[in-house]
Symmetry: C2
Subunit: 565 residues, 2 copies
């Protein structure tokens, strides 16, 4: 899928929906028998499926969907129904034309008890593409991009779904109409139903970095061949990348792309390892809180970054960046929905912040008790368990500015800021919740919450990057000769300095001192200059085949010659 993303994002999303969301839901939530029955035809693409969760009226609030599934003991099945227009399934990739089956999420009622959202494997059209009784589908229409995916709408009119088609790895209804669940609380039950979305977010985090790599490869190569203005009269014109302003607009996104690729890669490895784990009964483990939080934060930050990087590449290539042949504008347009699908980015950042607040309370509580169980986030939140957490927001005054080029500098600034932000957020929220409703309290800290989530995720991305730098530095001689160590160290340092310099928050929290800010700025300029020297090698190392690049990445004068008309 990562390779396909370079070729065509729609194709990659279509595969992702069928394999990751449709097949993934069966694999993660189905019983062993259901998996054995359905996964082979899913993998063979003979049982083409889609993932029908979102409705016209409910997207972010998936728990509020209105489609109903009512247990009918006499029929040994569930009556699936769309009770009103807001309950129509919406944005379902593949539903307009391609899919024959769907994992449909609906509010399950058994014997009069509503037990929440559950998934059902439902046929939505015949294998020859003709309609089936009770199911209406329609196209969502033309979109700003990704038009290779046939996003569709689905209405159900009292469709009988056989009992065996409720995915029953986690929860089940017996022939006698008795509902059983592996989970002890409705919250845990609901969270478990969306496991496939977590995997989807891990995948998106990877794929959007590849879109940024494609844009940056094209823009860097163009900036090395396109010239404008002579530095001195009569001299050849300078290359775009000879300009400090052009270096900055491309090198900071390039550095971030390298770091986010490492972070998303580590997340993918962690997800894949986890997916292989089974409990004593042979069942897959649920998604951990750590994976849920990390995938939410990574998906949001990686897709926002790719959005901005592609936009910068577009503008950095001028009108040529707008020309469809040169791919950047088209990739930017198809990417755009990544900021929204599988979770609105801003909502995801709030998800991260809410989880962090829970961990913060656990840490402070444990410290007050003089020890005890610590939160489950692991190394992401290792800094939560330091004295700084919960301490006064401003670190102790330092005597003189630190050396901003020392690797320890930016690590400290990132951690100090994340700790100060967490402390301030938790303090403000605790005060607000005493004064009013949870809704009002959250509203009063919403901006700080998103900023804090970003600050914590920045600590994580930097830690992954720094670990890769350390690994490269201690690699054997052959690896060192490959030239990876220098650009990698540069990229990690430059990216994190860029994070620290971009937001006033680092100054406000005191993590970065005012008298250090100018030195950080100067270090960023030096870093951009140094990375620009290595930039052709870096983008070549992305390994995107030449034929998937663009005319402006090559001999664009010959490409535009009159002889080629």
């Amino acid at each position: 899928m990562e390779a396909v993303a370079y070729l065509d994002h729609s194709l990659e999303v279509a595969i992702g929906v069928h394999v990751g969301l449709f097949g993934g839901t069966i694999a993660l939530l189905g019983s062993a028998a259901q998996a054995a029955k359905w996964l082979p035809p899913v993998e063979a693409h003979t049982m083409r499926g889609c993932f029908a969760l979102t409705e016209l009226g409910h997207g972010s609030n998936a728990r509020g969907i209105e489609t109903t599934a009512v247990w009918d003991g006499a029929a040994d099945g569930f009556v699936l129904h769309t009770p009103r227009e807001t309950a129509q399934k919406y944005w379902v990739g593949g539903a307009a034309e391609t899919a024959r089956w769907a994992t449909v999420f609906a509010q399950l009622t058994v014997g009069g008890d509503t037990v929440g959202v559950h998934p059902f494997v439902v046929r939505i059209r015949a294998d020859d593409g003709s309609p089936v009784p009770g199911v209406t589908t329609a196209d969502c229409g033309v979109k700003g991009g990704l038009n290779g995916v046939d996003n569709g709408r689905i209405w159900f009119d009292h469709v009988l779904v056989p009992r065996g088609h409720m995915l029953s790895g986690e929860n089940a209804v017996s022939a006698a109409g008795v509902y059983t669940s592996r989970h002890s609380t409705p919250d845990a039950r609901f969270a478990s139903q969306l496991a496939a979305l977590t995997g989807g977010r891990v995948g998106i985090s990877r794929l959007v970095n590849n879109q940024a790599k494609l844009g940056l490869t094209i823009a860097v190569r163009y900036a090395l061949s396109r010239r404008a203005f002579s530095p001195t009269p009569g001299a050849p014109e300078a290359r775009l990348l000879d300009y400090a302003s052009h270096r900055r607009r491309l090198m900071l996104p390039l550095a971030t792309t390298v770091v986010y690729s490492l972070a998303a890669g580590a997340l993918k490895d962690e997800w894949n390892s986890h997916a292989e784990l089974r409990d004593a009964a042979g069942r897959r483990l649920g998604v951990t809180k750590r994976l849920h939080v990390l995938s939410a934060g990574a998906k949001a930050l990686c897709s926002w970054h790719a959005r901005d990087a592609l936009q910068e590449c577009r503008e950095a290539c001028g009108g040529q960046g707008y020309k469809s042949d040169n791919r950047i504008a088209a990739v930017r347009a198809t990417h755009d929905i990544s900021c929204t699908f599988e979770g609105d980015n801003l909502v995801l950042m709030h998800t991260v912040a809410k989880a962090l607040l829970g961990d913060y309370a656990a840490v402070v509580g444990a410290r007050r008790r003089g020890g005890g169980k610590l939160p489950p986030f692991g190394e992401l939140l290792a800094f939560l368990n330091t004295p700084r957490m919960g301490a006064a927001p401003l670190p102790s005054p330092r005597v003189s500015p630190r050396d901003v080029d020392a690797p320890t500098f930016v690590t400290a600034v990132l951690r100090d800021h994340a700790a100060a932000s967490m402390t301030a957020l938790a303090t403000a929220y605790a005060a607000a919740i005493k004064a009013g409703t949870a809704f009002d309290a959250w509203n009063s800290v919403a901006t700080a919450a998103a900023d804090t989530a970003a600050a914590v995720m920045a600590v994580h991305a930097h830690a992954v990057g720094a670990a890769a730098v350390a690994a490269a530095a201690t690699a054997d001689a052959r690896a060192r000769r490959s030239g990876v160590a220098e650009p990698l160290a540069l990229a990690v340092h430059l990216h994190s300095l860029g994070v620290v310099a971009a937001s006033p928050g680092y100054l406000r929290s005191g993590a970065l001192r005012l008298d250090e800010a100018a030195a950080v700025e100067a270090a960023i300029e030096r870093g951009c200059t140094a990375l620009a020297e290595l930039s052709r090698g870096v983008v070549d190392a992305f390994g995107i085949p030449e034929r998937l690049l663009a005319p402006i990445a090559g001999d664009w004068v010959a490409h535009n010659s009159r002889a080629r008309l």
Copy 2:
């Protein structure tokens, strides 16, 4: 044109190219006889034209174009030629199909002397659309948007242009082959040739705000009807605009759109007044430095703002924002090239900064001499002539934080920061130019230069906004009852607080104190809440006809009903 922009951006750009650039060049640079001959058929659209300046090899560096026009006395005309592939005219709106004529810019040589870039009125195809000898045209191909404009390429093969077709209001070649110019220096001569582009930038500054207004009208109306999550169990779900995070993502852009619309409107008035002025000989005055600088800065900041505002609207409407029917994604795509055409935004910001440095030197020089002539920028740079300019970058320590809600607060912060930035930029550039080449010196301050230009333009936009607030507050009772004063004052205050809070530069310069930053943040949250209360009225006041909005601005449930399939 501003009304047409709501309907279709391509149509508006096509009109702008024909009337503003093709006709505008004739009006601004032609002789009275040429204007009398050509403007009537241009206005009647019977002489359809385009504007051929940019070439494949030269965009920002328009002075470096390679198309040649060589005076041929025997033929009483100029031989127009494309000497190599990089000299092909490129991105010329209307050149692929629509236009029959072009104002072609070429390097003029008379009697062996090359005298720089000059415009010629040249037929590029017959009135029936068939080719004319010596001229080859081609389409630039599909773009990321604006595909209603037929951007094209043009090659000339020794085309003879009659002497009377060189636009001769500023410079002329006599029948005897004698070149005369109204301008005393090549720099002034070149600058005068691009006058139509200044008018174009004024127009773009207006039009992109209308694109932002369209997006915001749709997104605000959707945010007032779309609901998600119940604040308390069993309660109706909250509207999107009830969420602080959603308010912030829409209200800050809304405030900025109001302020930038005022600033761009004032600029348009100034441009129109200036265009009516004539010198003693009845000739139009050249573009003033003030108009050149203001139009460059406004075009860059307004188009970047519209880009970001439309993107925020897109994401704030979720998947519906991506759906073409709902217009936002399409308007975002057609808008995008506004960041590049008629001047790359980053290059334009450097243009502003370079002009500011010249004025700074003039102010400091005049002060040293104890008075003297001050720079021509007028009220935009009034603060240049204060003691703060050239003084120590940090303002004197204040005893306690100021009242951030007092209108004087943000005015002072904006001006202090602009003055400090100018001083720091001029000092750094003066040191750098002593140490190396002008190219290297500029590279060393490029980031600071763009930031300083933005800081100065922010002073200007705020001043225009504050003047409008003052006018509304002192208007008669009827005007006050219209309800304009309150949202206007809110928008101006919120926009400028947003500018101050968004960039670490305001803390770094000392214009904003660290102990004031939290109060600014709180004031922004209050401002977003207050403006949200008035937001439906504000977007209604934009006056966009209902039929040019989008399904999600109305009853989107009914629009999506199955009955409508």
